[in-house]
């Protein structure tokens, strides 16, 4: 598990529209320099926020990245909360 790698990727996806756009078609380029294990990489590419949250992604980054790609932020909030609620407050110290 590399929380730092996940957080680094999330921060990039928040700030870099190019990386956001490239994530699905060119994930190696979008995630270059982010050390991720296979589960983290899969979860990022699938925007599986429940898994990322459980693995200790920084909640502030995770929510900002996830809601940043959403067309409908209110719907995104409901989906996000449903996905993370079962996991309580995991430690996200890197």
């Amino acid at each position: 598990v590399s929380r730092y790698g996940v957080d680094k990727a999330l921060r990039r996806l928040i700030h870099d529209a190019g990386a956001r756009d490239a994530l699905q078609d060119h994930p190696d380029a979008a995630l270059e320099g982010c050390e991720l294990d296979e589960a983290e990489r899969r979860a990022l590419l699938a925007w599986d926020v429940g898994t990322l949250y459980q693995l200790g992604a920084h909640p502030f980054l995770l929510w900002n990245a996830f809601s940043g790609i959403a067309a409908d932020r209110e719907a995104a909030r409901k989906d996000y909360l449903a996905a993370i609620r079962p996991h309580g407050y995991p430690d996200y110290t890197t």
Partner: protein
């Protein structure tokens, strides 16, 4: 010798920006705009030469590749926020000069008090600084010294350390050679959850933890440092919301005002408004 003539503690909630900008375009009553306006007038009456503003960075700039618990910004000028925050919150750009001499002095004087402040000669300010400054000093003319507190990436500086740094900040300002009028601004918030399971799970007043917020305001009004330190404990802050740690900026502020009772301490639209009238009027 510089003098701290006043201090303010204020919200930096970016979700209030669009409301405040809209309220400034009309004459309709708006209690939040009016509260900001009162603080803006108060700040102007102090005739500050420099604003030492204690805030944070929301992992926009400072990150876990190199995270300082406390960092003084000292480039010639600072500006922000990032395009991402401008787009998301409707925040206008804010740019102001930095009082580099005072910034340097704060770092050097910190060492003399066993306080190690990091510094940066190339940095930006995010909504933690630009949101309050947009409404407190729209002229963008008073030089700043930004102090960044790591309230985002654990391990965070503990509450007592924040107060200690605030006390050192005060001593450093008072030992600065230039005879300047300094206002210290703390930019933070009370109970808050972002990205955690209780996001938007608020009471009828829109608060995440009404007891936390009320106890904090009472403690500022009374200068009750013990209560402020208790509220700033990691467990208590997490109970109040997963990013309540933004409260730590107010603990640095509490140290900088020697935990004196605030001249004003109340909440308007669940947002803290604190000020201390500390110095001789001009």
């Amino acid at each position: 010798m510089s003098t701290i003539v006043g201090a303010l503690g204020i919200t930096h909630s970016p979700n209030l920006v669009r409301r405040l900008l809209a309220a400034h375009r009309t004459d309709k009553p708006d209690e939040l705009r009016d509260a900001f306006d009162e603080m803006r007038r108060q700040l102007a009456e102090w005739h500050p030469d420099v604003l030492v503003i204690i805030g944070c960075d929301h992992l926009n700039q400072w990150f876990m590749d190199n995270m300082a618990p406390f960092l003084v910004g000292k480039p010639p000028r600072v500006a922000g926020p990032s395009p991402h925050e401008k787009a998301r919150f409707g925040l206008p750009r804010y740019e102001a000069p930095v009082d580099q001499a005072l910034a340097r002095h704060l770092v050097a004087a910190g060492f003399e008090q066993d306080i190690d402040l990091a510094f940066s000669d190339e940095c930006a300010i995010d909504h933690s600084f630009t949101m309050p400054l947009t409404f407190l000093r729209p002229e963008q003319d008073v030089p700043l010294v930004p102090l960044f507190v790591n309230v985002m990436a654990p391990p965070l500086p503990p509450a007592q350390r924040c107060v200690t740094v605030g006390r050192a900040l005060r001593a450093a300002i008072e030992s600065a050679p230039a005879p300047q009028r300094v206002v210290v601004i703390g930019s933070g918030h009370l109970s808050l959850e972002v990205g955690g399971p209780r996001m938007r799970d608020v009471d009828e007043l829109g608060r995440y933890d009404g007891q936390f917020d009320e106890e904090a305001m009472t403690a500022f009004a009374e200068g009750d440092l013990d209560t402020l330190l208790r509220l700033g404990g990691a467990g208590r802050m997490l109970n109040a919301g997963n990013v309540t740690s933004g409260f730590l900026a107010f603990l640095v502020l509490a140290g900088a005002v020697s935990a004196l009772p605030a001249s004003r301490a109340d909440c308007v639209v669940r947002s803290p408004f604190l000020y201390w009238d500390l110095g001789p009027a001009r």
